[in-house]
């Protein structure tokens, strides 16, 4: 069994007094592609933000590469973040820069590489995501799927050891969906990186991931391989994986009784 690159131990987090994460324990092994799934607002992105050191747990700890992330000083945190890459939900490309400058951004900020080498590296990264030739375009000229792929090229610019994806499949057409899914798997294996995909796209992610954590209401309710999840008997997982309308997550918002409010008595 390979060692863990990221480890969450009894992580609790609350905004004011509203609990978001309740005792999360997770372990992300090196070289693996792991998905965190759950409904919108269940705390998935909050977990990524803890791993990136943006948020600090109210209890428990997050260890990345053997170091507790929220105990690092600002320099240490920035040094750690240089080893990470994060793909945001809608790419978060810098809209005032060309595709080339977006991908070259981290290379220029963090290295002293000469412009010719940066140029070659950017071209290689764009080629890896199938977008060689778009370097002079502005982000506004790209389709949603292309923007996501450029953002992916920017994420892997410095060959990170850990790549995090926040809803990489949201709002993509079926072709882009497959392309992005394939790229995530391929880049993870080619770079020897560890990848964490936060998503609610079950079918696409189950095709590519090694392991899945299911989160509901800030707690892990199921975990296992893609096959384990497909075969799971847990009611919530079943409803989620098969997209059933009613189940543990009710169709109706929990309000007053409809008939009582209408004055109709059964």
């Amino acid at each position: 069994m390979s060692a863990s690159l990221v480890e969450l131990h009894d992580v609790n987090f609350a905004y004011d007094s509203r609990p978001i994460l309740k005792g999360i324990n997770m372990s992300f092994q090196k070289g693996k592609l792991i998905a965190i799934m759950g409904l919108s607002g269940c705390g998935k992105t909050t977990i990524l933000r803890h791993i990136g050191g943006v948020l600090k747990p109210t209890k428990g700890y997050v260890k990345v590469d053997g170091q507790v992330i929220h105990e690092l000083d600002p320099q240490g945190l920035y040094a750690m973040r240089r080893k990470m890459g994060m793909l945001f939900q809608f790419g978060a490309l810098f809209t005032d820069m060309t595709v080339f400058d977006n991908v070259a951004f981290q290379m220029r900020e963090h290295t002293d590489l000469p412009e010719e080498i940066i140029r070659d590296l950017v071209m290689m990264k764009l080629h890896a995501v199938g977008l060689y030739g778009t370097q002079e375009l502005m982000p506004g000229e790209l389709s949603g799927g292309m923007a996501r792929r450029v953002a992916l090229a920017r994420t892997i610019a410095l060959d990170p050891m850990l790549i995090m994806y926040d809803e990489p499949f949201a709002g993509l057409d079926p072709i882009s969906l497959t392309v992005v899914g394939e790229l995530i798997r391929r880049l993870n294996d080619a770079l020897g990186a560890t990848s964490i995909v936060v998503t609610h796209d079950v079918q696409e992610s189950l095709k590519i991931v090694d392991y899945v954590y299911f989160v509901s209401n800030g707690a892990i309710i199921a975990e296992g391989s893609a096959d384990d999840i497909r075969a799971s008997g847990e009611a919530f997982v079943k409803q989620f994986v098969h997209g059933e309308m009613d189940g543990p997550i009710p169709f109706h918002y929990p309000g007053n009784d409809f008939n009582t409010d209408l004055g109709v008595h059964a």
Binding site: G52, V54, Y78, A79, R81, R82, M84, M86, F88, Q89, F90, A92, L93, F94, T95, D96, F105, Q106, E109, H110
Partner: protein, 262 residues
């Protein structure tokens, strides 16, 4: 119950205002602290000078010209009553260099460049570009905020100087070319009455202070904007309102110190 609710509401607003002031002050200190990159990689600042300074040129020059022309007309009408038309040059120049140049250029700068800065940073935040930068281990205050801040501080005195220069030219066109005030006395009176240190330098100091205030407000509002359409639009409005009030208030304070008893 209503009284308690009302008091609670007032208390909440006061606490929020104090908290926001503290946050703003901290943001300003952080901007100064992380300003190194703005000078080490000066092309970042030059790029922002282009966006906030150069692109504001047209509005500043046109407005300066018209203000000078109005000053020429109104000044001539008033001075004629006392038979001092020849002092028109001094009146136009002193009004512009001491007051109208710095103040009006700053008000225009706040509406043109300040609002654009707020909207740009607010949208960068709403589209997670600021978060992305932070997670790429690049400090957004150093990379995004500080170059814009220094660009504003550098641009403002230059824009105010150009505003005044265009105003003087506008006054000349109306007073000398159009009305027929003696050209020699127009320029010589101006030269005799405008003092470099007392008038021009004080005007430059004013525009520097206004540039600092407008840019700091615009950047803070953008950075603090809630990441929604309403949030960004509200922040843009606040930038223009707060900057305008800050300019007029600071102008009074600075004028009181600079020209009292002069």
């Amino acid at each position: 119950m209503n009284i308690v609710g009302g008091l609670r509401g007032i208390g909440k607003r006061v606490v929020n205002a104090v908290w926001r002031t503290g946050y703003g002050a901290r943001f300003f200190v952080m901007t100064l602290r992380y300003s190194g990159m703005s000078f080490r990689r000066f092309r970042l600042t030059v790029r922002e000078i282009f966006f906030s300074g150069v692109l504001s040129l047209i509005i500043i020059l046109v407005a300066g010209m018209f203000v000078g022309m109005v000053l020429g007309l109104q000044g001539y009408e008033t001075l004629k009553r006392y038979g001092s038309e020849s002092a028109l040059g001094s009146l136009v120049a002193l009004s512009l260099v001491r007051e109208l140049g710095p103040v009006l250029a700053a008000l225009l700068f706040a509406s043109r460049a300040g609002s654009a800065m707020t909207a740009e940073i607010g949208l960068m935040k709403a589209t997670e570009q600021i978060d992305a930068m932070e997670l790429m281990a690049v400090n957004p205050i150093a990379r995004v905020v500080a170059p814009r801040f220094w660009a504003g501080v550098i641009s403002m005195p230059l824009l105010a100087a150009l505003f005044s220069a265009m105003g003087v030219f506008g006054g000349y066109v109306v007073g000398v070319v159009n009305i027929g005030v003696d050209e020699g006395s127009f320029w010589s009176q101006m030269q005799a009455s405008v003092d470099f240190q007392h008038d021009i330098l004080n005007g430059v100091i004013k525009s520097l202070v206004f540039g600092l205030a407008v840019t700091a407000i615009a950047l803070f509002e953008g950075y603090d904007a809630p990441p929604t359409a309403e949030g960004v639009s509200g922040a843009t409005t606040r930038t223009v309102v707060e900057s305008s009030l800050a300019i007029l208030m600071l102008d009074f304070i600075l004028t009181a110190f600079m020209f009292q008893g002069a």
